[in-house]
């Protein structure tokens, strides 16, 4: 598959022709942003995806919903300072009859829950803090 970075010049020319200010391409590991200021088109450093080696990580709500710190059939929330594996559900978002799991994006130790059970949250609301598991390479 061709890489968009190989076509920056062509993309830039199209951006100028179409009088568009910005073109953003997002991929799993990188973002390409081309900004047209009228005189020229330049590549702007994109936001980087969070590194899995970051010392701590905030897990955010992927969607609007009502935050639940436990599954409705479970009595207890996930314990703090518990070690979790990547993909483990940390909490849930309830949207009417829908229940969306909020999975751990990586393995780590859950050190903080930032929102109270039952709170309405929006996209991007910080929900949990994960720290690297002690003793493992950061």
């Amino acid at each position: 598959m061709s890489n968009p970075l190989d076509h920056v010049d062509q993309l830039g020319a199209w951006l100028k022709d179409a009088n568009l200010a910005l073109l953003e391409l997002r991929g799993p590991s990188a973002t390409l942003r081309l900004v047209n200021d009228g005189a020229s088109v330049r590549v702007v450093e994109g936001e980087e995806s969070p590194s899995v080696d970051a010392p701590s990580m905030t897990v955010r709500a992927p969607s609007p919903g009502i935050f639940l710190d436990r599954h409705p059939l479970h009595e207890r929330a996930i314990a703090l300072v518990a070690d979790v594996r990547a993909g483990d559900p940390l909490g849930f978002l309830q949207i009417g009859p829908l229940l969306l799991a909020v999975p751990a994006p990586r393995a780590g130790t859950l050190t903080d829950v930032l929102v109270a059970h039952g709170t309405i949250v929006g996209y991007g609301t910080p929900l949990f803090v994960l720290q690297p598991i002690e003793g493992e390479a950061s």
Binding site: N19, D37, G38, S63, P64, I66, I95, I120, G122, Y123
Partner: protein
């Protein structure tokens, strides 16, 4: 009757809708993208919910996120504003399927009006005058297309059935160019709109863009609320609008207005809508209907004294129109300038932070804007910063107020089209009134601008 409204839009129109809701005592839920978090209307909302990152596909066009926000907030109605999902029939259906009120027409009305051929057929049936040409898609039979074009008379224009806003159109000067134009337009229509149907119409050389505002309730009543002239356009984007359309006889406008209201009754239309016409030599030709609130609705509000957004919400609540046709009159004249964050010479968008924001005032001056000093103009959205609207007892009085207001307005930190507006309101032909839709582009070309 709903008591809460989710506003599925951003910028000045989100604020405009919120003001109407608050005056009606309705709870407002504002959904917003991450960069819009600090906007004034987000802070004023009874509840604000972020629905996604800056990119519109993941936020203001993200139907799932908006419906989720409506569910968790307990919203009972959705106002789509203009642009984004306002003319998306599928979204309107989903909103209603979720048990909420969509503040707009039915999905069926939106589908008919979204298909330019179906719309033309419906308008002809209702007695609304249309541009000469068959109200059916062209077939692959080149001889039949030639015959249709010959009957209309050259020049003709080929248009995509799924197009709109000036896209998917090609002018054909003579029969020699018909075949190639047909192939090209069909291919473009297929690629751009996923619908390769095209149709042919008479091409009008120097038309004006005149539109009629309507509102209909769910009890079978519909009225028209006067005319607007939006001929001052660049690349099909309106720059200055005014109401009423100057230099067209009242009787002619009334006749067209009555037909528009009648068409609404016939098709069972509900809510606000706009019938757009090309006008040449006092003859009106229907081009399309916008099934939503328009950016330029304030000029109609200023001349009729009717709050269109409030009326739109009331009819969505199931109320009867609070006025009859005889109660509606056009008082004075109004103009609207769209203030855009863009370079006034090359029209390239100008994102950044506004350092200075000084807006004019005085009698008959209205500013509809969500911007202020310190506001960051995002590169992700269209460049409309707000609208300067003026009203006066006559067109001359309104124009004088507009000239002074534009002189007073100061926006610094980013480039805006204020200098262009100042030039336009001093243009003798614009001052005289009744310029064609090509006037602005011709004027810009003469001064070497794109």
């Amino acid at each position: 009757m709903f008591k809460s409204v989710l506003i599925a839009n951003r910028g000045e129109i989100a604020l405009r809708i919120q003001r109407a809701c608050r005056r009606l005592g309705l709870r407002t839920i504002v959904v917003h993208s991450e960069p819009d978090r600090e906007a004034l209307y987000v802070r004023h909302a009874d509840q604000a919910l972020c629905i996604g990152p800056a990119a519109t596909a993941q936020s203001y066009l993200n139907q799932k996120a908006i419906l989720f926000a409506a569910e968790v907030s307990g919203a009972e109605a959705v106002h789509p504003g203009y642009g984004f999902l306002s003319e998306n029939a599928g979204f309107a259906e989903q909103v209603e399927a979720a048990g909420l009120t969509f503040i707009g027409p039915t999905a069926a009305s939106m589908r008919v009006m979204g298909d330019k051929i179906a719309a033309k057929r419906a308008m002809r049936a209702a007695g609304v005058p249309c541009v000469p040409g068959p109200d059916a898609a062209l077939t692959e039979d080149l001889d039949a297309v030639r015959a249709a074009a010959r009957e209309i008379g050259y020049p003709v224009i080929l248009k995509a059935a799924g197009g709109g806003g000036g896209r998917g159109m090609r002018v054909v000067e003579s029969e020699g160019g018909l075949r190639d134009a047909l192939l090209l337009t069909r291919e473009e229509a297929r690629r751009a709109f996923g619908n390769s149907e095209i149709y042919v119409e008479k091409f009008l050389g120097r038309p004006r863009h005149v539109e009629i505002q309507v509102i209909a309730d769910t009890h079978g009543d519909a009225v028209w609320l006067g005319s607007r002239d939006c001929s001052l356009q660049r690349r099909h984007q309106k720059v200055i609008e005014e109401a009423p359309a100057p230099l067209i006889g009242d009787a002619r406008v009334r006749e067209i207005g009555e037909r528009c209201a009648e068409a609404c009754r016939q098709i069972g239309y509900r809510g606000v809508g706009t019938f757009e016409f090309l006008v040449e030599d006092d003859a009106f030709y229907f081009i399309e209907m916008n099934t939503r609130l328009q950016v330029e609705h304030p000029v109609t509000e200023m001349t009729t004294g009717i709050d269109l957004v409030e009326a739109q919400i009331r009819v969505a609540q199931g109320g009867r129109l609070p006025f009859r046709q005889d109660d509606i009159a056009c008082h004075g004249h109004a103009f609207e300038c769209r203030i855009n964050a863009e370079d006034p010479d090359n029209f390239v968008p100008s994102p950044g932070v506004i350092d200075t924001w000084q807006m004019p005032g005085g009698p008959g001056v209205r500013i509809d804007s969500h911007a202020s000093a310190g506001y960051r103009v995002s590169s992700y959205y269209d460049s409309l910063l707000g609208k300067l609207i003026v009203h006066g007892a006559t067109r001359d009085v309104a124009l004088a107020r507009l000239q002074v207001a534009l002189d007073e307005a100061r926006i610094e930190g980013i480039a805006t089209n204020l200098p262009l507006h100042r030039r336009l309101v001093a243009d003798p032909e614009f001052i005289r009134g009744g310029v064609s839709i090509h006037h602005l582009e011709t004027k810009l070309r003469r001064s070497g601008q794109p």
